[in-house]
């Protein structure tokens, strides 16, 4: 099953990236989580025609990708579905909003074109900022940061456990899907006649396995609370957080690209 294989690859790849050792990897996960949320709120708050101001927000993820040594190409590949969905939602903008708002090299550009471009850029920047967070922070660290934000234990523990069981179950699902595919050649997926038996068997196996794993965890001293991640945090992390907090607020308030353009070209 290609989707299962792809998902497994994705999980392993993100784990691999998050295990890196750059400055950004060692910043406290709470600062990274809060800064990402701040970035997303500011990016989403740009008006529909504020494309030039929005471009200034790229400074954050460009510097982040550079410090953490991440591949932009790999990150862009993950955003293709998001951009596809945004295109479907925003496709009507150039058709319904045809009033020209500026002229580029003699070609009038309508408000709808600008708002569609803004939508794309917003989606792209938001996806890249989230990627920067998860590529430099493990899910355990994010869950720890959530606990520090006083998010109750139950949903955080469930998130952690779901993630831990995920690889196990996807491998199980892949084995079952492969067995099914070999017995039903030419079928695109699981045939209609065995929908219930297939997924139901998987569910029952899952629950039995879950019980075994839980009993093993209890024997090893698990009482519903995960210990904090072992990776040490860097001292300058808080300063980095405060500086970016202010810098992003400044970029949101002042369209730096537009100001620089005016300064250079009058």
């Amino acid at each position: 099953m290609s989707r299962l294989d792809g998902a497994l690859r994705e999980v392993h790849r993100m784990d691999e990236l998050a295990a890196g050792d750059s400055f950004l990897h060692r910043v406290h996960p709470l600062w990274k989580l809060l800064l990402t949320l701040w970035y997303l709120v500011l990016t989403a708050s740009f008006p529909r025609y504020a494309l030039s101001g929005l471009l200034g927000m790229s400074l954050y993820w460009i510097s982040g990708f550079s410090i953490a040594d991440l591949s932009l190409r790999e990150a862009l590949a993950r955003t293709r579905w998001i951009l596809g969905a945004l295109f479907l939602v925003g496709i009507a903008n150039p058709l319904l909003d045809r009033v020209p708002v500026l002229t580029l090299a003699g070609v009038p550009v309508s408000g709808g074109m600008i708002s569609l471009a803004t939508l794309f850029v917003k989606g792209l920047f938001a996806a890249l900022a989230s990627y920067l967070l998860i590529a430099t922070t493990t899910l355990e660290e994010i869950c720890w940061a959530m606990r520090l934000l006083r998010i109750p234990k139950l949903p955080v523990t469930v998130t952690m456990l779901t993630y831990r069981y995920l690889v196990l179950l996807m491998q199980e699902a892949r084995r079952m899907s492969l067995a099914c595919g070999l017995r039903c050649p030419g079928e695109k997926g699981v045939p209609f006649s065995i929908w219930g038996a297939f997924a139901g068997q998987m569910l029952l196996r899952t629950m039995e396995r879950g019980e075994r794993v839980y009993e093993s965890m209890t024997l090893r001293g698990f009482h519903g609370e995960f210990p904090p991640p072992s990776r040490g945090t860097v001292r300058g992390g808080f300063v980095w957080f405060v500086l970016w907090l202010c810098a992003l607020a400044f970029v949101r308030a002042a369209p730096i690209f537009e100001l620089a353009g005016r300064r250079l070209f009058g």
Binding site: M1, L96, S130, P155, L161, Y165, G210
Partner: protein, 342 residues
């Protein structure tokens, strides 16, 4: 149906985060009542199962395409709506962070659109209601399909509304809605059938694993609810007054979905009546309408809109109370006639 961050404004995102957080807090309170130490691992393993199962393609006969099961309904059928809702939050958080499926800012919206309707409308109202007097294969099929269709339709409606309120698209709300609802009707049907197939298998193999609401009902009988009946009625009344009196002022002056469709066909938002019966109905309506077109006759003032909103809300509440209490009134009378103690 996962929404990206670019589709929503901070105001909409904040509101939906607040709604989802309140629902999660309520769900946690309900889930903790079980005091089951195995709850968290069971939820975790079920979350991972739904995650893995959603990546398996189930062939839809005769179409050449495939579908996957409906997570909210399945989790409600196995864990109950409250634990199911919390598990769906974990699934959506991992999907958003690891697989870039839905945005972190839009997480509140996605939790509401995909988990709240599936677990509370599909699970708590439909599944529990259908299973009230026992479980059967037909009931599982009916509840799964109905629950999946209704929750997906509500989810699709919410996505459209949240996008429209965020002001990111020029697409008119009715057009967007008309594009979203039919496709999600088909998806809901397919997901409902797959969910029914899985739950039927579980019912045949391990019926004790299914959640039917029995425990929840016993608990609600023995413990007091979050709000008393008077409290709940008071809260509903306050919400109705705010909605009718305040928010009616903000109602759009543009035609609604049906009016928009009529305008497209005829050039006007209203159809001309023809025939004797229609003329008679119009005369009766003109004579009885106190606030025609939601305003005082001959004026389009804001006060008229507010008063009409409040009056309409009061009439609806009175009708609901009448419908709710009349059968009880007759039941008491019958009992007293037959000499049975209430």
């Amino acid at each position: 149906m996962h929404m990206a961050d670019a589709l929503i404004s901070p105001a909409v995102a904040g509101t939906m985060y607040a709604c989802s957080a309140l629902t999660a807090a309520y769900s946690m309170k309900q889930a903790r009542r079980d005091d089951n130490p195995r709850l968290a691992p069971t939820m975790g393993v079920m979350g991972a199962f739904v995650f893995a199962a959603q990546m398996i393609n189930f062939t839809i006969p005769g179409t050449g395409s495939s579908g996957h099961l409906c997570g909210g309904m399945l989790l409600s059928g196995m864990l109950g709506p409250h634990a199911g809702f919390l598990t769906m939050i974990a699934i959506l958080l991992i999907q958003c962070l690891i697989f870039a499926d839905g945005g972190l800012l839009a997480l509140g919206c996605n939790v509401w659109n995909m988990a709240a309707y599936g677990c509370f409308v599909g699970g708590l109202l439909i599944w529990r209601g259908v299973m009230r007097n026992g479980v059967s294969r037909k009931k599982i099929l009916a509840a799964s399909v109905l629950g999946s269709v209704v929750s997906l339709q509500l989810g699709a409606f919410s996505v459209t509304l949240e996008t429209a309120l965020s002001g990111v698209t020029e697409l008119p709300f009715p057009v967007f809605l008309a594009a979203m609802l039919p496709i999600h009707l088909v998806i809901g049907l397919v997901e409902g059938l797959i969910t029914a197939a899985v739950l039927t298998f579980v019912y045949e193999a391990r019926p004790e694993l299914l959640w039917t609401g029995e425990t929840a009902r016993l608990e609600t009988e023995s413990k007091r609810g979050l709000l008393s009946r008077k409290g709940a009625l008071g809260a509903l009344l306050a919400a109705a007054i705010v909605t009718a009196g305040g928010l009616s002022l903000l109602a759009s002056a543009f035609p609604d979905g049906l009016e928009w469709s009529i305008q497209r066909l005829t050039g006007s938002t209203e159809l001309e009546a023809s025939g004797g019966a229609a003329a008679l109905a119009e005369r009766i309506q003109n004579a009885t309408a106190v606030l025609p077109d939601y305003a005082f006759p001959g004026s389009g003032s804001a006060l008229g809109t507010t008063v009409s909103g409040l009056a309409g809300g009061a009439i609806v509440i009175a009708l609901c109370l009448a419908v709710g209490y009349l059968p009880r009134l007759f039941r008491h009378k019958n009992r007293s006639v037959t000499g049975l103690k209430p």
